[in-house]
């Protein structure tokens, strides 16, 4: 199956269950939103998908186009085409954006010739799309960046690496409306039948710009409701407090 499939995933942190037999399938070509209150396991799910070893998986499986990825080191999962836009991107002092993205691209295509000219052409084109100043290429990754700059830098990396599946972890948090629009434009630019997205967000407003095919609500470590984009609007007016029927 051409999808990101999460089957019965259970995860613990320090002996406490955070995800409980969570099921979620994002078929290629679709955009799924994952919404829910804070502390319900959204970010944990994102990190587990990316292979972070700090979490203990106690059950279930994750398949990327049918291939199991749980237990693989993070770089292998990344090279298989899964991209995570971090909620809190790390600063890398001394590592320039241009060098970092180039290192990431070269790590995936060892042995094939690399054209610096083509690389910079592509990089500049995508920076223009995200309205990132050219001077950014020489700046250290996320070092001293504002919240908006960090998120644009995440989306720039996503545009350059062209993943098959992208998980965006609260990419809208801390953004003003202009920045939100630019970031959304970057995501929409990549939308294609060849790509799946899981957009994690606390607020509905991002979904005005990135219109999802399916909306899921997570609570207590599992999906409690799924529906079309109107579900997001419904949550916006009623809030997460309202008990929702399990679908």
């Amino acid at each position: 199956m051409k999808a990101l499939e999460i089957r019965g995933l259970s995860v613990e942190i320090a002996g406490k269950p955070v995800l409980r037999e969570l099921n979620l399938v994002v078929p290629k070509g679709e955009v799924h939103a994952l919404m829910g209150p804070n502390g319900t396991g959204k970010s944990t799910l994102a990190k587990v998908l990316a292979g972070n070893a700090d979490y203990k998986v106690t059950g279930g499986s994750v398949l990327l186009d049918g291939e199991p990825i749980l237990g693989l080191p993070p770089h292998e999962i990344a090279r298989k085409g899964l991209f995570l836009a971090f909620q809190y991107p790390m600063a890398l002092p001394g590592v320039s954006i241009a060098n970092f993205i180039r290192a990431a691209l070269q790590a995936r295509s060892r042995g094939t010739p690399f054209s610096a000219t083509a690389y910079y052409q592509d990089l500049y084109k995508k920076m223009d799309l995200l309205q990132i100043d050219r001077s950014f290429t020489a700046r250290s990754v996320n070092d001293g960046f504002s919240g908006g700059e960090k998120k644009r830098c995440e989306v720039l990396q996503m545009l350059m690496l062209e993943p098959s599946y992208a998980v965006l972890d609260e990419t809208d948090s801390g953004l003003d409306i202009d920045a939100l629009r630019i970031v959304a434009e970057g995501v929409n630019h990549l939308r294609s039948p060849e790509r799946g997205f899981l957009v994690i967000t606390h607020y509905q407003r991002l979904l005005n710009y990135i219109v999802p095919d399916v909306v899921h609500v997570i609570d207590g470590g599992k999906i409690v409701q799924s529906g079309d984009k109107s579900l997001a609007l419904e949550l916006e007016s009623t809030g997460y407090q309202k008990p929702v029927a399990v679908s």
Partner: protein, 467 residues
Amino acid sequence: MNKELQGIDPSVGNFHYDTAYALDAGVGLDEKTVQYISAAKEEAPWLLNFRQKALKVFQSKSLPLHWAPAEIANIDFAKLRYYLAKGGPVSRSWDDVPEDVKRTFERLGVPEKERKYLAGVEAQFDSESAYSRIQENLTKQGVIFVGSTEGLKHFPDIFRPYFGRVIPTDDNLFSALNSAVFSGGSFIYVPPGVKVKQPLQAYFRINAENSGQFERTLIIADEGSEVTYIEGCTAPRFDTTNLHSAVVELIAKKGAKIQYITVQNWSTNVYNLVTKRAVAEEAAEVRWIDCNIGSKLTMKYPGVVLKGRKARGEVLSIALANTGQHQDTGAKMIHVAEETTSNIVAKSISIGKGRSSYRGLVHIPSGLKGCKNNTQCDALLINTESRTDTYPAIRVTGDLASVQHEASVSKVSEDQIFYMQQRGLTEAEAMSLSVNGFVNELVRAFPMEYSIELKRLIDIEMTGAIG
């Protein structure tokens, strides 16, 4: 490069070919060792006398255990071999170099680099130079680039007045040891106004087990001249101890510029205890670029005596200590004239159980006007077992000088590594990128070929650190 060598990384020195030595001073150090070395080199009586006095100084001193890393007590001077050579003259053509020695240097990429971008090369194999050559146009301009034996034998008028003057025999235990048994190293003279555009390189190779290498280098840059000298060092990894203890003296006369670059990649059984010092006369500039990647223990604090008005001294250093290594490095700036300036930037990286220490000395006596020093030392720790120490000593008397000292310690966190891995980099690649980012600003000051070599050495170290 020939076919057999393709795919071999020239920066990795852990290999060795069997070699027969015609000259061997045997094991241990006494009066006879010194006589043997001096006789093998057919030295003038004053040099034998110099060595004999130095031996007495060495025997009268003890290890500086009150401040030095305790590991130096593990060196067993009685078990080392002090002089090993194949005999015969120094070759001016690689075709004349004995086959086993030539293969070693080819594998290390030396002849290839010489063809590409070097003005001259000296290749030392254990105690003696195997090869030494300088471009003809430089010889015509009066530039001298020879080994120490040749320098003292054929150009005594030029070198003898400065020999042992910057670093006297009794400076420390290891300068005394070197003065007693020195062999090899480079003697360079650049005449007034001559600017040597391409670097001169010396390549130091230890090949024999349980041996010591004691090269002696003396560089004199006459008024208004310029020269860049580069040394590379490797050895195969033995289970037993090798000792490398050099003395390097630089003289930069009025308005001269000397840049001295070291890329030290000794194997991890080598004790690397080196004394390096320069004298900078009026408006002269001396810059030490010192990269220490290898060795078991390195103790090295390149210094500049700022003797003339407006002289400038600089030390840019990078030390990388992996598990089992201790890099005890630093810098000394001795201001003895007015309006002299010095700059020290030291970056250290400690990985696993590796240990790095910075030891600095800045001396500005009272009454000297317009002296400035800037010292910056930054440490990067990769994982929690690493340790780093800073021992800065700033002796400034009087209030006419401007001194700045900044120090920082940072860590590469697991979150940073995970972030980079998520972009497709392996753990080793991620660490390597962090380390390169940490030293990046400093490396930009290096000649390009050496920044590339340094980056490759860091990559290899990080791959090894992951295991």
